[in-house]
């Protein structure tokens, strides 16, 4: 028996990465800003998206959302009330979204990304698995609510480190749960130095103006003359 070596040197998720890169190219051409929103279950992704979609539509922007869940289309039904185009991706037990799911749903959806300003992808509630899967997004947004504990970023470094922006949600409950804001910000910065952080309440409206201004500026930057 002679041991032999066969070189492979291939990323395990190469298929996903290649697909994501082609999605990103398509989104760029269309001039649509794509945000991949990740968090643990119950941290308020849908509530913040509801407010965000309503605000963007009221300002005359065209926005749509793809919503991933293991089962049920409750979230999509909630978001559709904003008037935006919304489509549910039911993953049948899969704990994260993958690039092919985004591609397939966009193909089957009577919606032209070319006609959009914003596309939100609400990932499955999970702070582990979605960190591996590029969906072709421009911005990965990680959310955590004040009820979850200050050490969440330290517990899930890959997810926080691979994200671009953090949104702290439910700040209207901060006092009731004795939320240590400074410690949370320090923990986020430890895992992801220099991260842009928003502090919001979808219910009371705190921080929403800043959040909307930020994503509008990001989308304008895409459409600026510097872009092809």
């Amino acid at each position: 028996m002679n041991p032999r070596i066969l070189e492979i040197r291939k990323g395990v998720l190469e298929k996903n990465d290649v697909l994501a890169a082609s999605l990103r190219e398509r989104f760029r051409k269309a001039g649509v800003l794509v945000l991949n929103i990740v968090s643990s279950p119950g941290s308020g992704k849908t509530a913040l998206l509801e407010v965000t979609l309503a605000r963007l539509l009221a300002q005359g922007y065209r926005a749509a959302a793809l919503v991933g869940d293991l089962a049920t289309d409750n979230d999509a039904a909630r978001l559709a009330r904003s008037g935006a185009s919304v489509r549910q991706i039911t993953t049948s037990g899969n704990c994260h979204l993958e690039a092919h799911m985004i591609g397939d749903h966009l193909r089957d959806w009577a919606l032209e990304v070319e006609g959009l300003d914003f596309l939100f992808i609400e990932n499955v509630g999970n702070l582990v698995c979605p960190s591996h899967y590029d969906l072709g997004e421009d911005i990965r947004v990680v959310m955590l609510s004040v009820t979850e504990g200050e050490d969440k970023p330290l517990k899930y470094p890959p997810m926080f480190n691979s994200s671009d922006v953090a949104v702290i949600t439910k700040v209207d409950l901060a006092e009731a749960v004795e939320f240590d804001r400074d410690q949370t910000v320090a923990n986020i910065n430890s895992v992801r130095p220099g991260m842009t952080i928003f502090e919001t309440s979808a219910k009371r409206g705190a921080g929403i103006d800043e959040w909307i201004a930020y994503i509008v500026a990001q989308r304008d930057a895409l459409k600026s003359p510097a872009a092809p």
């Binding site: 028996m1 002679n2 041991p3 032999r4 070596i5 066969l6 070189e7 492979i8 040197r9 291939k10 990323g11 395990v12 998720l13 190469e14 298929k15 899969n94 704990c95 994260h96 582990v128 698995c129 960190s131 591996h132 330290l154 470094p157 890959p158 997810m159 480190n161 691979s162 910065n189 430890s190 895992v191 992801r192 130095p193 220099g194």
Partner: protein, 120 residues
């Protein structure tokens, strides 16, 4: 548990490569796993045995090489392995850094096989 679906990806890539090279049975797969990949070795091994069933990799070993998270420090002008993935700063001078040089790997380096046919 995403390790199972990652294990299926590993098996598929290695099985395809073996088929293309005319290799009937693989003895081991060598994987480079970054500290920042978020993949747990134990869960991957568990999933691997399941995923390998009925393929050219059945009964093979999964060898995992852990790749440390390394940042470039703009102050020290040099690369350093992180002391902890909870602290993205230079372990020597404390300067924060997001200039990540390694640690995100999730890559099949090579497979091992024997040039005699495996036991049927």
């Amino acid at each position: 548990m995403h390790e199972l679906s990652i294990a299926y990806n590993i098996v598929q890539i290695a099985d395809d490569a073996a088929r293309d090279a005319g290799v009937d049975h693989v003895d081991a797969v060598h994987l480079r796993l970054g500290q920042l990949s978020g993949v747990v070795s134990e869960a991957l091994w568990f999933g691997y045995d399941i995923a390998a069933r009925g393929t050219r990799l059945e009964g093979s070993r999964l060898e995992i090489e852990d790749v440390p998270a390394v940042i470039f420090c703009s102050q020290c002008r040099t690369e350093h392995a992180l002391e902890s993935i909870q602290q993205f700063c230079c372990p020597v001078c404390g300067t924060p850094s997001m200039d990540i040089r390694s640690g995100r790997e999730l890559e099949i380096a090579y497979v091992e096989y024997s040039d005699e046919p495996a036991h049927p």
